[in-house]
Amino acid sequence: MEYKVEAHRIMSISLGKIYNSRVQRGGIKLHKNLLVSLVLRSARQVYLSDYYGGVCVRSPHAGGVEWGEGDQMDSDGSRSTPDEHGGESALVSDDSVRIPEVSVNGPAAAVEGQDIEDLAPGSDYNCQQSPQEDVGSVKTEGSGSAETGGPGSGSEHCVSRSENSQQGSAEVTATCCTRKRGAERSASAGSPVKRPKATAVPALPPVGGEGEGPEDMDTGNVSSLITIFGSSFSGLLSKEGAQPATDSEDSDSGKICCEQMLPNLNPWSTAIVAF
């Protein structure tokens, strides 16, 4: 499981870098943040790919977690993690990760959760190799994170994509992965998309509260994650009671939010799977 530890570490470091980039002089560097978000995404997919080991049948080409090049993720030697079960588990766990900034999409999340359950029996469909390239994931990403006020449309989009796409679970994976990545990307890109999102996020929790039971269970986690993605991490640190992060603490802040996030994935995803 060294790769899991490694992936976790890389995720913490990446989050720390993204946080740091917000406060550094000269503004957010688009290129560097793009690269960091790529690494973060890869590490996250690797990390979560084994989280629910054995959920799905292993696919012969276990590289779907990547951008879509079909190559096996291989940072610490060979990895035996199946891909599309990884995709599924990533999807499932993504729901919890997504909660805060996507509480609007709460219903969508639930719908997607259902989709997964529906799709699971169709193992052939799920067990396909990851999509062609960025295009697949990118498109879903665009659709997924662009909408902030239309949970219904989001979920429909996800459903239609998963039904129509040749690319199977990986596409759906990408859809859900996009949420979190969308948050990071919007944070890192410094584009106008970021501001409306950031302001919209704090307003969301009450809306999301009316959603499903599983969501309610994690309100505490929700608010902490909101502060992570909605307000440049300082909210998280104040929540922790720690001093505002200095340069030396960038990796710590990354670790903090990672560690807060990841342990809570378990109960949340358990609920989803049961549901």
Binding site: E6, A7, I10, I13, K17, R25, G26, G27, K29, L30, H31, K32, L34, L35, L38, V39, S42, A43, V46, E66, W67, E69, D71, Q72, M73, D74, S75, D134, V138, K139, E141, G142, G144, S145, A146, T178, G182, R185, S186, A189, G190, S191, V193, S251
Partner: protein, 446 residues
Amino acid sequence: MKCFSRYLPYIFRPPSTILSSSCHTEADIISTVEFNATGELLATGDKGGRVVVFQREQESKNQPQRRGEYNVYSTFQSHEPEFDYLKSLEIEEKINKIRWLPQHNAAYFLLSTNDKTVKLWKISERDKRPEGYNLKDEDGRIRDPATITTLRVPVLRPMDLMVEATARRVYSNAHTYHINSISVNSDYETFMSTDDLRINLWNLEITNKSFNIVDIKPANMEELTEVITAAEFHPNQCNTFVYSSSKGSIRLCDMRASALCDNHSKFFEEPEDPSNRSFFSEIISSISDVKFSHNGRYLMTRDYLTVKVWDLNMESKPLETYQVHDYLRSKLCSLYENDCIFDKFECVWNGSDSVIMTGSYNNFFRMFDRNTKRDVTLEASRENSKPRAILKPRKVCLGGKRRKDEISVDSLDFSKKILHTAWHPSENIIAVAATNNLYIFQDKVN
């Protein structure tokens, strides 16, 4: 291959730094180095927004061995820190690139850019000044007109040479993202400035208008997958330019094809080796610099671990690939942690396009001879470089038994990196920027 031996006793530090190089200020870090077209001038830009121009001494018959040393010619503040109030962003004054314009008269012109603004500077000499004004005396004090009884015509008298730099044009407000390159066209009328997502074409005379010739910004920023990392005009075809991307591809565009050159004419990319796949594959394949050869037939690109030479007529794979520091491949995770993996190394051709040079860590820089296939690693450091000393080739030991003069990978100092180098256009003189120090090396005098 000529060995770089004779070391010109030139370690430059801007006057404001303390003598010890270990406590330099951030502002003194050199961020760009560029020879002009004749090699007579060498410009450096630093993080503090200053430009320092060196001029080569004329060769004197009295001291033939002191052939053409470079001395400070002009220093000026090119860019100041600015604040974008709309986005609450500070704009760094760091000089990202300097490009010289060809010389038409006695003055020298260069373009310098920071993240947002390009400026055209005129560097001119003044060695005469007018004396004998009527209305003011030699100190500049105004004379009482009532005391003036005769009129005289002011005459020009020689004075100590003064070099002054004036900003002639300021090309601003055209880039939303950070400018990473500028390139002067061979028509000497236009230049382009490149940021992460767009390339703009300017006329040197016109500052309030620029034409967008490449735009890779997606309609939805969430769909962003690659950015432009560098761009350059072809050295003799004024309609051709290339730009490199963070995905490791290079696109060659022809401005005659359409006004917006989003569709490339040629696409250079080498398929990735799947056995080298890792978390960091995308980062290390991102191209940090692209340079045309002087003859315009080849293209050189630098990514994190390699330098590649491409033939413009072959898009499928590079002509030559040189490993700069492949021993770092197993250390990518640590380099990611300390941010070194994001370092943008530049690469340069020599005048005859037979040798290429690029920097590395530990103040090492590497040269590759394309003809003999030999390469050398040299170090730019004060301790190893006495005047007239011959630079000793260095070697990094990969593990196992370390020989006497070798240095092990773990002992490399990653804070000492050589990102910027320049090669004289016709002679074997190189300028190497090591953090805040500039080293100028010259080939043996024959």
